[in-house]
Amino acid sequence: MKRHVLVDNVYIINISNSSACICGESGHIDAYTRALAVQRQVPVFFEDEGNYEDYSIFSRFIPGWQLPSEVELDIINEYKTIHVECLDVTATASSSVVQLGSNDTMELESRVKAIRHFITDAPQELKDYVGVIVRQSP
């Protein structure tokens, strides 16, 4: 028998990018996120740019544990409740999970490709521009 969880106060500001906040019990959680993180010398981005199939990081195999384990586990819960008075989380992202309660299995995966893009022909006013410009594709 799994334990109950009692949390008096929860403060969370942001949950994003395939993340989850779960109050209560769950069976299986599957979270998957992929992202192209582009930093450009000038803040100009196009609506439909980026193709995950161009980069091997989004398709390569990630090794995992071989199950089931040979360990025979016997768990005795002498107290039926886990008590937390206050939980304060500023942000969650990229397939992360905040759960208040018990779980059985979780599969979490995140794949991020970072690209730094320097621009050779950028006009000075674009280099000085503070903000983000999103354009239709040329």
Partner: protein, 61 residues
């Protein structure tokens, strides 16, 4: 191999976290299996120096 775990009383005052990211877990409770993986790529060829041309369009938009 056999292993016995006895869980005694668990009482926590407060937890303060700035950020949880990239397949991480904050779990207040019990679990059986967690399979968490995160890959992050910043190789030399991800540094581009070109005129302002977008990445090729596709599934990321």
């Amino acid at each position: 191999m056999k292993m016995t775990v006895i869980n005694k009383e668990l009482r926590v005052g407060s937890i303060r976290i700035t950020a949880i990211s990239s397949s991480s877990v904050l779990l207040i409770g019990d679990t059986r299996v967690i399979n968490s993986s995160s890959i992050y790529d910043t190789p030399a060829e991800s540094l581009l120096t070109t005129p302002l041309v977008p990445l090729s369009p596709g599934t990321a938009s």
